[in-house]
Symmetry: D2
Subunit: 341 residues, 4 copies
């Protein structure tokens, strides 16, 4: 069956599998100390235009969020995130498991609004009881957000400025970063992100890899013995080559950007189809995830032919559902959807 269920329905981009095959029998040392990891780190530093960046490879998103957040936060701090942020809702309490509170902020289409952040911080320090409260010690944003929306450069500049004025780091969850960077409606580049964030990650799992997220500390601020902290959290992969080779391939000849752009092209065509069918959008998403409102009856019918995701209840008889494209989506998939609708 044709599937728009999410952006990790397929295996890996064929070029990645090819490289895994080619290098398979080379004896390599473990835990990220192999030359492919080295090469991938170099290419990522270049793509970020950030020569001093420190890059590490972890396996998955939840793991990366928990490891970065809990390694960077001080004992008395928590992390600020949108109420809809992945760390707030869909990670089974992984940040709390690491002993820190997620301080939830109201969101606008999945985004933190700079003025809301500013006011939160001002009020926190104005509160005479704040010594008994969790200190805001980091700002977490996802880009694209869980709703497919994007921060503008201006918004990011504002948020980064607020973070700096309070001396708290800005952390960007880029599980779907490729789909943000290649959106037709963004003015934020990878270089901007490396400049504005203190730490962020470049998602592999949802952008063509079997698994893998590349964490980038941009300001010579990698926690000491970070890999030991990663090991302690059970997040250090023995065969680091699996991550190194994948990211080395993704950052060779712009593959990461090209396959992301393909997903965006597919998403734009998907939007045309949905519009033509007069299906109302839940919000305007410029990336690979599209949220629409469907009648429950229609959902039941459509599910027989196409896979997609339940998102949230809308009204008695209506539901918000998600269609996601990815590097693996084909024209044929879209035609099948068109027909099914």
């Amino acid at each position: 069956m044709v599937s728009f269920e999410n952006d990790y329905i397929a295996g890996a981009h064929p070029l990645i599998l090819k490289r895994l095959m080619e290098t398979n029998m080379e004896p390599l040392s473990g835990y990220g100390t192999d030359p492919y990891c080295e090469s991938a780190k170099k290419k990522i530093r270049e793509a970020c235009v950030c020569p001093e960046a420190e890059v590490d490879f972890l396996v998955g998103g939840t793991q990366t969020n928990a490891a970065v957040i809990s390694s960077v936060l001080r004992d008395y701090e928590g992390v600020l995130a949108a109420q809809t942020g992945h760390v707030s809702v869909h990670e089974a309490g992984a940040v709390e498991y690491a002993g820190h509170k997620v301080l939830e902020l109201p969101h606008k289409e999945g985004k933190i609004v700079p003025s809301v952040l500013r006011e939160y911080l001002a009020l926190f320090y104005a509160d005479e009881n704040h010594e008994h409260m969790v200190f805001p010690g980091m700002v977490y944003i996802s880009h694209p957000t869980e709703y497919g929306t994007l921060y503008t450069r201006l918004e990011m500049e504002e948020i980064a400025k607020i973070c700096r004025s309070y001396e708290i780091p800005l952390f960007l969850d880029g599980a779907r970063l490729g789909y943000g960077l290649t959106s037709r409606r963004t003015d934020l580049t990878l270089k901007d992100i490396a400049r504005l964030c203190d730490v962020f990650y470049i998602g592999g799992t949802k952008v063509g890899a079997l698994c893998g997220e590349a964490v980038v500390f941009t300001k010579q601020n990698r926690p000491p013995h970070f890999m030991n902290s990663v090991k302690k959290r059970g997040a250090l992969l023995a065969k680091g080559r699996l991550l190194g080779i994948q990211f080395d391939t993704l950052f060779t000849d712009n593959l990461y950007f090209e396959i992301s752009r393909h997903a965006i092209d597919m998403a734009e065509e998907l939007k045309d189809i949905l519009r033509r069918k007069q299906i109302p959008f839940y919000l305007e998403s410029p990336t690979n995830q599209q949220f629409v409102i469907l009648e429950n009856e229609r959902i039941r019918e459509l599910k027989k032919k196409v896979m997609f995701s339940f998102w949230e209840k809308y009204e008695e008889k209506y539901t918000v559902v998600r269609f996601a494209t990815s590097w693996s989506t084909t024209k044929k998939d879209l035609e099948a959807l068109d027909e099914a609708l």
Copy 2:
């Protein structure tokens, strides 16, 4: 200076100090195994009309909340609480430190609204992604709440019923329980609470003791080796006698209720004074904490003569402040306040 800053401004009720003196040189075994603890437990079981209750003594409220919540929750669960709940805001992230998320619900004057709780739980299980979410594994309420308000018996019955239908325990934070039980506008008795809650605690620190909270598991549901869990959390007092003697005194001849009622009487007189001065109440509180709205200018003046607490910003020029009475408040304190206002 006269103080309405909180309900723990004084030492202990004189009868408690007297008993500490009288028993001081008796050699007693430690960690709560002395006869005074035994006697206090017996009296508490009787006061609760709950012969099967299991009672333990801990030192303070945050500690008790964290120890009970994290000992009772299962690994994949979090605790539901009002956004304004003590565990949500003013415990420096103690529940999260224990590895569990506080799932915050909107509140009404500090209380959880039964219908809101019911809907939250229904939606949680309706969400297809809930396997990646923190499971609601306990309901935490405070009574009186942080705003001095009280649950009615009907509300408590409803909440307890919802908890039972989802098989999750109901935990009541009674840091100020005495002031709730002796309010002139309550229909909830200690017996009701023992019947409706799975676990609750009777606050000593804020009701006449130097320190101490009596945890009551009501349904033969005390976690196995609970005192080891308490020790592991650094919450087991070596000289358990200090807690046993205090609670034994508080539950002899109704002392706990009498000193609580005194605080309520003082609070009612305080309310009369505030009303006479035409100071607007922030909300209607039937217990020992009274929240009023004062002009910032007036606050500055009043602070020269009377101690009270900043609560929260109201408007540009107005602030919500709190006046608390306690077992130690005197008529003279009220007269001084009356004059200062």
Copy 3:
């Protein structure tokens, strides 16, 4: 350069890569809900001759140890392990990070001695202070051990019997299980292990997979919502297919056992070479890891031609080093080593 550095120097067994290629473009649902995971679980249950077994796939060994141990232990319990156990020494404190103590027992060639275990447990409960101590709540053994040694069936029966008499689960770390099961000097089968252990895992990472460990709960004792606990620990792989396809391949046509047996054959030839060169063994290992004592001088020379691992200091001028074979070791590798020696 030829390498005996460890058993994870190569990528994956070619048949695994082939299956990853063949299935690559199939749209599959995530998090272990795909049909390959289902099929792999079925085959593992059959290989274990344990139809009621519950099987889950995790990514790596440290992660698996921490997730299983901390999900199974009760709050007041710790895990018993040999002083040399992986969880005791080489996991950066992952079990402690999860809030539990590793109770270290003296070892014999990496193994727990049943009588030592029995005495520890008897003494623990005889100690009048044990209510302030960490309760022994699980026994962790590795098989093969970190020294390549194996438990006999009799030893395992004894340990399992002790565990049962104290009602604590027995957990076997099988990161290298294949090399134990196919050793020429073992009387323990996979069926025995499933019968005697309460939970164990079948290592993939070190036995031919890119990554992956298959956890087997054998007694209908899988913790409720275990996958949520796994997610909470950042250990749930989005593309569960990567694990399912690998284990499905490993447990098709006995591949897991055949490639393990190959490693054992190579190890036996390696031992012959070492013996011929009159290099003293540190201990007698019947599996794929061989520990020998070399002069420091000779180590320096040999390192120019062959890769192997430092293990521990032996004497001033001597060091214990490890040579490991694996499914990927070739006759040619052995010839190169023979020559280099």
Copy 4:
């Protein structure tokens, strides 16, 4: 019955109770911000001859150990302690609950031997695998130890020197510090301890207070927002006055030293009695805890008249037991023991 069971069998020194009475009705602000805490801190700084010391009051020993250790350690570090250290054995895993490993060292009569410490650290950094191990990040010693023994000044100097050369802090658990400082066989002063340790605490619970431990950071090295970390661990007492007044009293007119010296005098008489009765000592203790070897039969008899503690099994028919004196021990207690023996 006369009791030598431990050094916390009685309430508080009468002068402490007297001060609690005298100050009882003063309205004071909470959480350690009252003038008695301030005064006590000043006196402790003076007693330590360490004007830059930062002093905080916590409630109990396990709590203090866990809070200090886990606030000071970095994520990848554990704490070195003797195998017999209180944090290693009798705190129910409180340090591990805080996410850190206790790295256990062999002991000599409860003490860490400087050369053993030095070798451990040298070997750790020599081990090529140490990036996967818990880094030694603090040294924990107790003084007096759990066996009543004392470090000499020379030993302390050596340990402090080793700590400094590895840049790890030295933490001294002084739960019974008074009994060490006033021993007839010590050359270590409070000033020495403040000079050599990075952080230590002065025990109140076992030296005349109802509860309370005074933590002293000596090198301007108090973790930022330490009280928030204390609150997060549920260890912040609302009525901080209870701790402030007690320590203020203990450090007025040398009370702490005088009552400790009394316990030592009683211990020396106790030793004379035991010697006269030709009861063999398990080890030579110069402080208030005395360990002797008794026949099991004799223990049963003696327990009818005197309370003391089981310590550990010695041989089939013999057991090590402990007699402890304290500030509250009287001549009459000793006479009763003499007679009972």
